[in-house]
Amino acid sequence: MRVMAQMGMVMNLDKCIGCHTCSVTCKQAWTNRAGTEYVWFNNVETRPGQGYPRRYEDQETWKGGWTRTKSGRLKLKAGGRVKKLFGIFTSPVQPELKDYYEPWTYDYKTLIDAPAGDDFPVARPKSLITGKDTDITWSANWDDNLGGVHELGHLDPIVEAVRRESNEKIKFEFEKTFMFYLPRICEHCLNPSCMASCPSGAIYKRVEDGIVLVDQDKCRGWRQCITGCPYKKIYFNHKTGKAEKCTMCYPRLEIGLPTVCSETCVGRLRYLGLFLYDADLVGAAAATENEQDLYEKQLELILDPNDPMVIAEARKQGIPEDWLDAAKRSPVYALAKIYKVALPLHPEYRTMPMVWYVPPLSPVVDLLRDQGHDAEGAGTLFGAIEELRIPVEYLAELFTAGDTSKITEVLRKLAAMRSYMRGIALGQEPDASIPAAVGMSEEELYEMYRLMAIAKYEDRYVIPQAHREQAHDLEEMGCSLDFDDEVGMYENSPFGEASGTPTPVAIETFNALRDRQTSGEAPSADSLRGRVNLLNWDGTGAPEGLFPTKHQHQGEPK
């Protein structure tokens, strides 16, 4: 046994209102830089819908993740090492910008500067890639809410899968339509196929907390990881020529703060905590034959932090005491392994993802309510879960490789919690038969309710701090002093922006903010380092480069 600690996340989908606050704050923190305009480390998808990049779940096209060979070994779906090397000069399957979307800004200045006339001035969209006029055709989440499902739902690969399986046409008639939001970040997998695809070995998993990072110095831009990740959570920075991905906000986690997306989540639906797992068994678990067993196998990897044997082994591996303590109090462990209501996204990709989801009961509840039934009663809810096959099958394709019984089990627990607590709230005698129907005790159900519905801040985030006394060289902090002298002069190196020692993100943000606060001027092209992006433009003036240079019309009155 080799015990390792993994920082994990659980998202309770019932609470997501699709506000995109998480995406926006994440973008502000990490990807409001040139080259990453189209990149959303955190994105929120409307489901059913195509996702971002569009149809990324269709692995027959995109070849992400692993497959199991006939002899029972794991193989990258895109091919073995030799095949990957032969295909290195051009990646056979890599999403293009049009599969994400072409980022844009608007020509705001004409609104102010246009000469008086009969026509209203219009702020035209400008591509952030070419700087030219562009037509907006798609964005990171263009799948519309209910109306859009009707239009575009059939393009969702999961809908296709459900159709294939059930051999009937799913109709997106309005009254039968259901939808929910799916926020996604990198899964920080236990068996990451992005890492396995990287020819340079630049992607690594941190021993201490399992966070998957790209070493920006070792990455050579072979862009194989983008194909490798089935969740398409590695992005190519087209300015620096390097791969970038969600960092799980490691600088925040290291000092005990939750990630930006979790901290700012309006629905307070994200949980952060530790898993202890047995690293020696990951390979075997990922190679499990039957796809529908992968979820169970993944659960088996997760070790009980209260088991004395596990604790002894963890100590031997050098996991500090406060981390072991945090593992015992971990909310993600409770939701995934004790209550078994959190499920991994697409276990069939065999990467052992570590961001788990509590599937939403709301499609069922909403449909019941719309049809005039009691949407809180245990009887009607249990019945509806069995009846409403399409939402359940859809969720099963997402979370259990198509096994509807496991989804039903989870939804029944959520339904039980709902109706049991409703009874209490109405001052009725607690109905012990409800938890019993889902194999739980009244205490357990109440504890689950406290964690999921009350969800206090300190219960949602149990984050042990990094041990700096051991860390000689924390990722950025270790060398941040070196940059003090260079503040403001990091721009020029002989090969342009993308060369030289990278400036730590914190220093860059600091500089940008200071520049902005200490000058009344528009940020100059210099201080923005040639980047023109709505997110680093605060409305003062127009940064150089926002508009094409030749926009002066000939013979116009001054």
């Binding site: 831009g221 862009r223 690293a279 000689h472």
Partner: protein, 258 residues
């Protein structure tokens, strides 16, 4: 041995410049490797456009790799050796021209398509730096003059010139620190120009995107799939025995010998 007079320019160009070039190439590469790991990348443009790249890039790269192999064989293996194993001059020449010609045309065609794509695809052109343009001028120059030497050899009436008796001995002599200037001075002009442009390419090499070629990821064939690395870059768990820096073999067992 060709007996031509050796002028001052010959000494400068074939006796001094090669060492200047080597100094810049080696020094530049070491410097860039130390100073600019972050800029050491292919700067792939596939995100913008992939239809043309899918044809152009493999055509160019497989071509240039074949050309490199050809150069290694032609320049390094002395004629005496191939003679000794019974490879006739005509047979060698025929093969070199055939294989070299095909590889060269592939390379040039690939490069032409790459440049066409760079110029005509908006986002790719926008992402093309001055450095890239300069690099392409020299690179295409080297390829064109290289092909010219091949073509001229084919149509040359008497097939008298053999670069393996002029350029190659000089090439080897440079590394023996006794440049055989007389040999190369006897070579025809196209060969001289090709050699010069080639040397210019090596001078700019460390300072362009071409550095990516020197980190061709062959080690991918041998590394374990899953890479663990400690935050403090120390092996975190002293109990696991086979810890090379950041390459501990846990996770998938794909790399285990079974």
């Amino acid at each position: 041995m060709p007996a031509e007079t050796v002028g001052t320019w010959d000494v400068i160009v074939w006796g001094v410049f090669p060492y200047f070039m080597l100094a810049i190439l080696v020094g530049g590469l070491i410097w860039r490797h130390k100073y600019d790991q972050f800029g050491w990348t292919t700067r792939s443009s596939q995100l913008y456009e992939s239809r043309l790249l899918r044809i152009a890039s493999p055509l160019f790269h497989f071509g240039i790799l074949a050309v490199i192999v050809g150069h290694v064989v032609g320049l390094i293996i002395p004629k005496a050796w191939t003679d000794a194993v019974g490879v006739s001059q005509n047979f060698y020449h025929f093969n070199a021209l055939l294989v070299g010609g095909i590889a060269g045309i592939g390379t040039l065609g690939g490069a032409a398509l790459l440049i066409y794509r760079r110029r005509t695809t908006g986002p790719v052109f926008a992402a093309t730096t001055k450095n890239d343009k300069m690099m392409y001028v020299v690179l295409v120059g080297a390829i064109v003059f290289g092909l010219a030497t091949t073509v001229i050899s084919v149509f040359e009436a008497d097939h008298t010139h053999n670069y393996r008796e002029t350029v190659s001995p000089w090439f080897r002599s440079v590394f023996l620190l006794q440049p055989d200037i007389a040999s190369i001075a006897a070579a025809p002009l196209t060969f001289k120009i090709h050699t010069l442009v080639g040397m210019a390419l090596f001078v700019i090499w460390p300072f362009t995107r071409l550095v990516h070629a020197l980190t061709a990821p062959i080690h991918y064939l041998f590394r374990p799939y899953i890479v663990y690395r400690g935050r403090d870059k120390q092996p975190a768990s002293p109990t696991s025995a086979t810890q090379r820096r950041g390459w501990s073999d846990v996770g998938t067992s794909d790399n285990a010998k079974d």
